[in-house]
């Protein structure tokens, strides 16, 4: 009796979520299929699946006839990867020091980092633009990467992560004669899930960033892929919808791949975080 009741509740929960998944995922399926269709087919409700897998839009996109798509894609990858690596490394190092050491001005610096969480980068877009202009970094990838390297949220996250690491473990490494930097390096394998989870979130957010690249970058070959798509959509180019949607489809690949690969670590890091 109890067993079958559990079965029913599992079944209904799965059914309810499956219904929601269909709503959530339908536009993506539509987008994927539309990449192979002509404009007339795109907006016809049936059939959803393309009649034949015509690669004309993908060829048009990758040949750079409308926008230098492959170039923009690489720009985005470069920016998001470097921003992720820097932000993760910086936040991890600073978080470690704040979790395990006491020193003068610690409180002041901490308050500063918290203030950085409360004032988002988007609100500082304008002064950042003027500042980057003064540093003559405008229209380079660095003008987008550098403002994202100090992540206040990451700093707080890694303090929590390192707090959970027992001190005797570090003392053991010290007794074996490791210097302080070696001790830090020896802790990294222990917090691998946290590192991967933070890097994943950071990468996804950098990949999605729109406002900062929009104001910083201007040369067409320097743009990020989302800016390129925006220009395709906004211009009076009469771009085929199939081509636009093919471009959209490709932007999903890096983040979706990263998520699938890192999913296990991601879940375990979330679990440890929510316990903290």
């Amino acid at each position: 009796m109890n067993h079958s009741r559990k079965h029913i509740s599992s079944l209904s929960a799965t059914a309810a979520l499956a219904f929601l998944c269909v709503i959530f995922a339908y536009p993506f399926v539509w987008m994927f299929c539309s990449g192979f269709k002509t404009d007339a087919e795109v907006f016809a409700l049936f059939p959803l699946l393309p009649q034949h897998f015509d690669l004309v839009h993908y060829r048009g996109l990758l040949s750079g006839a409308w926008i230098p798509y492959p170039r923009l894609f690489l720009n985005s990858l470069f920016i998001a990867s470097l921003e992720t690596i820097f932000a993760t490394a910086f936040a991890c190092g600073a978080g470690y020091v704040f979790a395990k050491f006491d020193f003068r001005f610690k409180k002041t610096l901490f308050i500063l980092a918290v203030a950085a969480v409360l004032v988002p980068r988007q609100a500082l877009a304008l002064p950042l633009f003027v500042w980057m202009n003064k540093l003559s970094l405008l229209d380079t990838p660095w003008s987008v990467i550098l403002p994202g390297t100090a992540s206040g949220v990451g700093f707080l996250y890694f303090i929590a992560v390192f707090r959970r690491l027992p001190d005797p473990l570090l003392d053991m490494a010290r007794c074996e004669g490791a210097g302080e930097y070696r001790v830090f390096l020896s802790t990294l394998p222990l917090i691998k899930p946290a590192l991967i989870a933070f890097a994943l979130i950071q990468f996804v957010l950098c990949w999605q960033e729109h406002l900062i690249p929009l104001i910083m970058l201007s040369t067409q070959t320097h743009l990020t892929v989302t800016l390129g798509l925006a220009s395709l959509n906004a211009g009076n180019l009469r771009v085929p919808y199939g081509l636009l949607l093919a471009g959209c489809t490709l932007t999903l690949i890096p983040t979706a791949l990263f998520f699938v690969l890192a999913h296990r670590h991601f879940r375990s890091a979330l679990a440890s975080l929510t316990e903290a």
């Binding site: 995922a25 993506f28 910086f90 930097y181 979706a256």
Partner: protein, 294 residues
């Protein structure tokens, strides 16, 4: 070994704080300075004191954008977490083997650039072929709604967009939180005769408090900084009757369309105290029995 005797690995924290100083603190002061200058972009601007802020007090569009932003932030914070918490409960009861796929489907919008999401929203949900009109209005015999141009529905569209984007991630966060609650808590409370609702009310909710506060702060911050969604849906303007005009878009418009940098900086900075207070309030709600982190 006490904390005091260890040599401080200064180099580990130097890069973070260097970046924070150069790319956060300096822009903050630059922005403040900018907001006290006249509107010329480079070179000839003169010090005008607080006059931009005084002008803002009489600027109807500013108050409008401020109200829109906070209504939108508030709606996102009030609607999304309960929805995601319900989904997390459901997800906990599904068949183990189906979970991966369900999570992936729910996460999908979160992994997509908001610009693409907004585009899909426009193309799939809006218009006479749009799913929103087709599924909700046509069966009831109601006329089509233009979900983007009708000022009454712009904010609803923005909230739906945020819901679509964040539900997956927040559901995962809540699920982790739920799975972190020891079973024995429930067993003990149930043994005392508590109903399912009482279990939820007195065990689950208090233990999820820190996660909930974190989620609320995240949503608030993201909603405040929202730009792409509004930018695509409304083509960079405030939409009809400015119903979708948000602070960040207004600041952007003022700076890059009108070229008034001083005023634009003042718009951003005038709204910061409110944002910081709201976030501080949300985060302080999550701190039960835990002392301040520093």
């Amino acid at each position: 070994m006490s904390a005091r005797t260890k040599p401080l690995p200064f180099l580990l924290m130097a890069p973070f704080f260097a970046a924070l100083f150069v790319f956060w603190l300096i822009p903050v002061f630059k922005g403040l300075w900018l907001s006290l200058q006249s509107d010329e972009l480079f070179g000839d601007s003169v010090f005008v004191g607080l006059s931009h802020y005084r002008d803002l007090m009489h600027d109807g569009r500013f108050w409008h954008a401020l109200r829109n932003t906070f209504v939108y932030c508030g709606m996102a914070v009030i609607l999304i977490p309960p929805f995601a918490l319900a989904l997390a409960h459901l997800l906990k009861h599904t068949y183990r083997r189906s979970r991966g796929l369900i999570q992936f489907c729910l996460m999908m919008p979160g992994l997509t650039p908001p610009l693409v999401l907004a585009l899909l929203y426009v193309l799939v949900f809006n218009g006479p072929h749009g799913l929103l009109n087709r599924t909700f209005l046509h069966p009831l015999g109601l006329p089509d709604i233009d979900w983007i141009r009708d000022p009454r529905f712009i904010k609803a569209s923005l909230v739906l967009l945020a819901l679509w984007r964040w539900t997956g991630f927040i559901t995962l966060l809540f699920l982790s939180g739920l799975e972190g609650i020891p079973r024995s808590y429930y067993d003990t409370t149930r043994a005392e005769g508590a109903s399912a609702w009482q279990l939820f009310r007195h065990v689950t909710l208090p233990l999820l408090r820190p996660v909930t506060a974190f989620v609320a702060a995240l949503l608030f911050l993201d909603a405040f900084a929202l730009f792409e969604g509004a930018y695509v849906l409304l083509g960079g303007s405030g939409g009809s009757l400015d119903a979708g005009l948000l602070l960040i878009s207004y600041s952007y418009l003022t700076a890059f369309t009108l070229g008034s940098f001083g005023s634009a900086a003042a718009i951003a900075f005038a709204s910061l105290p409110l944002l910081m207070t709201a976030l501080w309030f949300i985060l302080s709600q999550g701190r039960h029995r835990k002392p301040a982190a520093a």
